[in-house]
Amino acid sequence: MVHHPSPASQRRQAGQRQQRGVSAGGRRRPARRRNPWTAALAILGVVAVLVVSFVLVRWATTPVAVPDQPASAAEAMAILTSIPAADLDRVGIGSATPSVRRISEPALTSPGGRPAVLYIGAEFCPYCAAERWPLIVALARFGTFSNVGTAASSATDVFPSTPTFTFAGSTYTSRFLDLVAVEQDVSGGGSLTEAQRALQQRYSGGGIPFLDFGNRAVLVGSTFSPALLQGVSRDAAAGALRDPATERARAMLGSANLLTAALCLATDQRPAEVCSSPGVLAAAGHLA
């Protein structure tokens, strides 16, 4: 007896043939093969075009030259932010004045929860001019500066025209702490909250430079005399830091170790490789 399949069975069989690539007549259709590399290369191409576009956008939107930051300033910053740890360890406290003192206050933190370091200064101020040097050295061990400009203290004050840097318009990023830097005599140099102003009043009576290390320590004034920076160019002063035996290096690197020890109080001794370095440990013993 001849068996005629039902219409439903015919459809099922046709579907199965289609899946196997076999035609109703029993002949195998040539398999429709896609080149597997075509799609992959297309994706790679699109990604490459996007990355190149990103680079071009960055290139087109980056200023050709940053005002106030000539090559010499960048070179000086490069020296300050890459002092070898061995040189800092060798200097210890050096000839710096150990005027950083511990305080006991509720921890000062930024909105992001990191310890906050408050710097209040002004560009005219010669003591601020001096203290910015070791402060940059110290903070560079915890994070990265960008757009730090150059400045000089007032030409008509004591220690006239002390070469220095300015934090106005700069940014600082760190995983360990946040820096609040205010240059009070510069338009756009930052502003103080009432709480910050109250801290400054309490510990320095409004004097500058004032540094609060997360409410674990404070510094009022500079830890070495601006006289060390008189009659010297910024480049020459920075270059002197390459030799830890020089008078300027002993003062500024010693001061940097003191400030680093204070920063370590704020960050609960992190990062360990910085806070447990011999130079910082030596300086920590001099925190009043």
Binding site: P36, L44, V47, V51, R58, G143, T267, P271, A272
Partner: protein
């Protein structure tokens, strides 16, 4: 290339990406030292300590999202190893890889355009996402073989 070998490659990329993501998350949580350049264009510190180093200001490191993505990708690869013929798993994996690629492109945009710095570790993780995407796309286009 056999589908098993491709899945093996996807799993290897997932494991490496997972290891990198765990490392970056651990470094963030413990504030430990990061083995990476901190000068010039390659500057992990600048990238990881930026506002984009955490997810939407939550305090959760962006690298934690990498852990989640690679873990799911590894899980899908394992399931596909067990059930090689599953079209659903295959499509899910491809979809997941697409999500990963979109996020990676967003992060690369942040690194290059907004920060002007590249994080070497992040780039390794991004490359692993890319490798996963390519392996899955090739697998989708090729006829199934043992």
């Amino acid at each position: 290339m056999s589908s098993r070998l491709r899945l093996g490659l996807v799993a290897a990329a997932g494991l490496l990406g997972l290891a990198v993501s765990v490392y970056l998350t651990q470094v963030h949580s413990a504030s430990a030292a990061l083995l990476c350049s901190t000068d010039g264009v390659v500057n992990c510190e600048r990238v990881l300590s930026s506002a984009y180093g955490v997810i939407g200001g939550t305090g959760v490191p962006t690298a934690a999202a990498g852990i989640a993505w690679f873990a799911v990708s590894l899980g899908l690869a394992l399931q596909r190893w067990r059930r090689p013929g599953s079209a659903l798993l295959s499509r899910l994996h491809l979809l997941w890889s697409g999500v990963g690629l979109a996020v990676v492109l967003g992060l690369v945009f942040v690194e290059i355009v907004l920060l002007g710095a590249l994080c070497a570790w992040c780039t390794v993780a991004h490359a692993m996402v890319m490798a996963t995407v390519l392996a899955l796309v090739i697998a989708e286009a090729e006829p199934v073989t043992g």
